[in-house]
């Protein structure tokens, strides 16, 4: 009778002690009346849709720090591999670093297999990493791409669960965007229709959710081609001021003018050569 011993026992494992300590510290700080610095989050509306020839990913461009907009034009569609891109919602640093780590690992994997990476591989790598950190990495992702088996779209949650669907939305504006999708999605759409649908879904998130705003970025992925449209639509243009508050030259009268030269001597001069070989 064969024994199954593929699972090696790892003593130790990841220690979440610091998370408990942080929670206690947070409570103590709040009791004293101070508040800990808020992590920069991408409030966000992100979405993706599978159409006839590939995948269209869309995202807004607002990054918030508490209730202040930290970045009016941040890029939320991250590169994973030439045929796979990933939108990220949640803590900006987490989505940025997670996608970069997986992108790097996937490139090594692709060099090792000698093939273009598959979307399912990127999905597995992401979900296994997020599950390992038990949701403490606050990254909610929409992963889309086209590989040898066709176009694929996944949504990945911070705790490590994934869903494979024809259309997905994530972020604080996800409900607004999903409403647009549920109304107008059809299987096998043409590219223009799919781009319009994603643009409208993100616009719904931008205008109806406080955490999303500014412009709409799109990424259209087909077999052999990627169109990164940034910005695809400037939904919120800054208005033109009608009046000017600048004062004319000579508004303030000059009463006296005194010029005092400062005589400085060179005390020490040293030259350090740089090794430019």
């Amino acid at each position: 009778m064969a024994t199954v011993s593929v699972c090696q026992y790892h003593p130790g494992g990841f220690s979440f002690e610091n998370c408990k300590r942080n929670a206690l510290l947070e409570a103590d700080i709040n009791k004293l009346g101070f508040s800990s610095p808020a992590a920069r989050k991408t409030g966000t509306t992100i979405c993706g849709v599978v159409y006839k020839d590939g995948v269209v990913l869309g995202a807004d461009t607002r990054a918030t720090e508490g209730m202040v907009v930290a970045d009016k034009n941040c890029s939320k569609i991250h590169y994973i591999s030439p045929n796979i891109y990933c939108c990220g919602a949640g803590t900006a640093a987490d989505t940025e670093m997670t996608t970069q780590i997986i992108s790097s690992n996937l490139e090594l994997h692709a060099l090792s297999t000698g093939r273009l990476p598959r979307v399912a591989t990127a999905n597995r790598m992401l979900k296994q990493m997020l599950f390992r950190y038990q949701g403490y990495i606050g990254a909610a992702l929409v992963l889309g791409g086209v590989d040898c088996t066709g176009p694929h779209l996944y949504s990945i949650y911070p705790h490590g669960s994934t869903d494979k669907l024809p259309y997905v939305t994530m972020g604080s504006g996800s409900l607004a965007a999903m409403a647009v999708f549920e109304d107008r999605y059809r299987p096998n759409m043409e590219e223009e229709e799919a781009k319009r649908l994603v643009r409208d879904a993100i616009a719904a998130g931008i205008f109806n959710d406080l955490g999303s705003g500014s412009n709409i970025d799109l990424c259209v992925i087909t077999k052999g081609k990627v169109d990164y449209l940034r910005p695809h639509d400037v939904a919120n243009k800054k208005g033109v001021r009608t009046g000017s508050y600048r004062y004319k030259h000579g508004t303030t009268g000059v009463l006296t003018k005194a010029v005092i030269p400062l005589n400085l001597e060179v005390v020490e001069e040293s030259v350090q050569t740089m090794d430019t070989s």
């Binding site: 199954v4 409030g43 918030t64 705790h159």
Partner: protein, 218 residues
């Protein structure tokens, strides 16, 4: 003017759960598994068409409930372990082996995981079998139900289950149970997935909402 600025999105704090109703029944010659398709994060539904019947091997499936991440991860790990095992023994694995692998993970990480998987399938030695693995227990049963929606149908399944049903009767039993649970449990809904496994293999079917049987509904 409402002062609810920037309410934190639910999915950031809430874990994604498969609210769920899952059920597995043996009949003479195989098993029938059934599940609903709703996945919720807090109050909102994040996936209304998720297939919670996950293949562990050709003729062994498991039904997922509880935390979506935990359940998916257990199913994928056991799928991998069974693949290796079946290559080692050069034969299809036993349902008992699959259930034991699931039970081992569920028991060892009892405190950290919150997922309940029902394992069911067909093998040459004992035919159709259903195993419940709640909290690390391993128990072979003629039928098993699980998930939040199962509480509403305990009475129904206890009353309606009969030994030695035919394949068709078992499928009807499963669909009826799912429909009743989905009708009363807020966390279950969507479509019904039914998988029938016998010696010839596994047959998957999806029953849309409007094709489900109708019960008393004022």
């Amino acid at each position: 003017m409402s002062e609810e600025m920037f309410p934190e999105p639910e999915w950031l704090s809430e874990e994604v759960k498969t609210g769920t109703t899952i059920i597995a029944v043996t009949f003479d010659g195989g098993v029938v598994l059934g599940s609903d398709s709703r996945v919720s994060a807090g109050e909102s539904v994040v996936n209304r068409v998720m297939n919670k019947l996950s293949p562990l091997h050709d003729k062994i499936y498991c039904a997922l409930s509880g935390s979506a991440a935990d359940a998916q991860t257990i199913a994928e790990i056991v799928n991998y372990q069974l693949d290796v095992h079946s290559i080692e023994v050069e034969d299809d694995p036993l349902v008992c082996s699959a259930a034991t692998l699931v039970k081992n993970i569920s028991y060892k990480y009892k405190e950290e995981l919150s997922a309940h998987l029902i394992v069911a399938g067909w093998d040459r030695k004992k035919g159709g079998q259903v195993y419940a693995t709640l909290n690390g227990l391993l128990s072979r049963q003629p039928f098993a139900i699980g998930g939040s929606g199962s509480f509403y149908i305990h009475g129904f399944v206890d009353a309606e289950y009969r030994k030695n049903m035919t394949k068709r009767e078992s499928q009807e039993f499963v669909v009826n149970a799912l429909t009743l649970a989905m009708g009363r449990d807020g966390s279950s809904g969507g479509v019904a997935y039914v998988v029938t496994i016998d010696k010839d293999g596994a047959e998957e079917k999806c029953i849309l909402g409007n094709e489900l049987p109708r019960f008393f509904d004022q």
